[in-house]
Amino acid sequence: MATAVEQERKIIEGSMAVAEIVKRCRPQVVSAYPITPQTHIVEDLSQFVADGEMECEFINCESEFSAISICLGASATGSRVYTATSSQGLLLMTEVLFNVSGLRLPIVLTCANRAVSSPLSIWNDQQDSIALRDAGWMQFYAEDNQEVADLHLQAYKIAEDHRVLLPAMVCMDGFILTHAFEPVELPAQEAADAFLPAYDPLVKLDPEQPVTMGAFADPNYYMETRWHLEYAMSQAHAVIEEVATEFEQTFGRPGLHVIEEYRTEGAETIILGLGSMMSAVKDTVDELRDEGEAVGAIKLRCYRPFPEKRLIEALQGVKRVAVMEKDISLGKGGAVCTDLRAALYDLPERPAVTGFVVGLGGRDIANHTVRACYQRTKQGSGENVWVEMREDLLEPEMVQAWKQQWE
């Protein structure tokens, strides 16, 4: 695809890619609290500000709760804003996250995915963002740092669209992406400005036009206000597709289409997942294809709103799906697997779905992990199958319970 826009290619750390693209999005207020592995993002932004490369109010505050509240106030006053966090910080923000979506503020937040305490872990998994899937935030997941950069630019545009007006969380695997150096193409400022014009709020706090925000709603009103949000989520599918297409045509790279299909032609088995592990999945798919296996992969770029329609389309004729995910809804199983099974439930013909829990707390996911899931999937469906566990660390009854999922 030929493009006329100016872009530059740099080999930079994932965190720097975020800082560079956020700079180009021109937020007026940035506020964040450091937490490993997000720290480099905010440090890089603060250097841009210190060097006069970025014009914004940069507020070093004393907790993530304050950071997101500062962003809330600034967004309500009509500013484009930005924050970033991980894990405990995201969880600390929880009540404000729900408040932000209820107030229809199009805040964009980077979640550098990290495991949750207790026990404390600074390493990657996606329990943090997945735990907030009910908060009314759109959730986009990046596979590599190019995608990280591209998703942020599109996230602002989608969020600020008056048909949507929902906040967006751009999720990137902590350390794996934040601290990895990769070549990234970044649009020139003019190109970014053309793609993402200034934020045009629907409503804002302004003495010239007083308005009351955050009223309290009794049972006569509350239900309909939640439908507002659900409706906005349903409208977001079309806006995401529009923006993704426009992005592709402008920058010549894949846009934020809700799913990416990889070698799914004639696939009997599909391996489905989110984020950076999809690189290992695609690599394994190539190996398996070379061995004659009819296998493909689907990457979920957008988890909320859940891309049900596109998934059903893409899984037509597929016999089985292996969902690999780095999260667990304790007491049930992986959230993505649960959502997928529900989406397929009413179909007269549907694939068998097996849900695998992998990579929690930063445990490495390599091609052998993907192969293990693939092989197990061919044996029959199951849920809550945990992969590559260290048996030596567990009591025999726990090992037995785990092994049962493998039968």
Binding site: Q28, V29, S31, E55, C56, E57, I59, N60, C61, E62, S63, F65, S66, A67, S69, I70, C71, L72, G73, A74, S75, A76, T77, G78, S79, V81, E95, V96, N99, L103, L205, D206, P207, Q209, P210, V211, T212, M213, G214, A215, F216, A217, D218, Y221
Partner: protein
Amino acid sequence: MAESLLAPGHTACLGCGELLGARLAIDAAGPNTIVVNTTGCLEVCTSKFPQSAWRVPWIHSLFDNAGPVAAGIEASLRAQGKKQGITVIAQGGDGGMADIGFGFTSGMWERGHDVLTMIFDNEAYMNTGIQRSGLTPFDARTSTSPSGKVSFGNPRPKKDMVQIAVAHGLPYVASTSSSYARDLQTKVKKAIAIEGPTFIHVHTPCPLGWGFAAASTVEIGQLAVKTALFPVVEIEEGKVTKVMSFREKTPVEEYLKPQARFRHLFAGNGAAEQIAQIQAIADQNIERYGLLRSS
């Protein structure tokens, strides 16, 4: 007379000291004001969807984040080059501003945002049913610190918000009362003219929660000040510059007796000792701020 920036038709109780104080304050601040309000009586009574009493831009986010939300509003105005001439106020009750929201407000103060913080202090979590707060006075009865066979009520003195604000280095810190309307309004005007974080602690009696007749709100608030249980002071750049002082000492009983929340102190059973302790608190305030002047 211009219409108030806090319209009537709100659902506050008869004689509500907080609504009185809030109305006086916003009228003093004027129309070029953006208000952030915590959850609480004031918010609930004035913003039941689809109505709002507020004639200025006003936002309620959560119980605990008025401070940082106000900081964000101020930052946005500065980023848009619009801050000049617009006042940002973070306000709420003793619950939202002194307890659950306090830490985040401390951060806002420390960073020096140009925001006026106001606490409308009715000395308990009134909106949820009169539960004890960090600003509930010593020996006051609340629903979670009731008096009983082995208790005289709340066992702790009020947290000193004025001194905490002074310790943050705020250029202007003051206390006032909804019973002293002109004092309240003068202080609001003064605070918003000063750049940087400013703080006004407003004492606001609550007829329902404290147990007195609605028509006595102003009188009860005046007694709180006259007994020195709620000192009215002004502290600028860390120095006490003005206090509301009195020629005569008013014994604390005159303030305590008319309120049902203190009535258990007049029932015998060693309660006299408690009243002596409360008088000692008042005496400390008198000494610290020089609240009794010789004629």
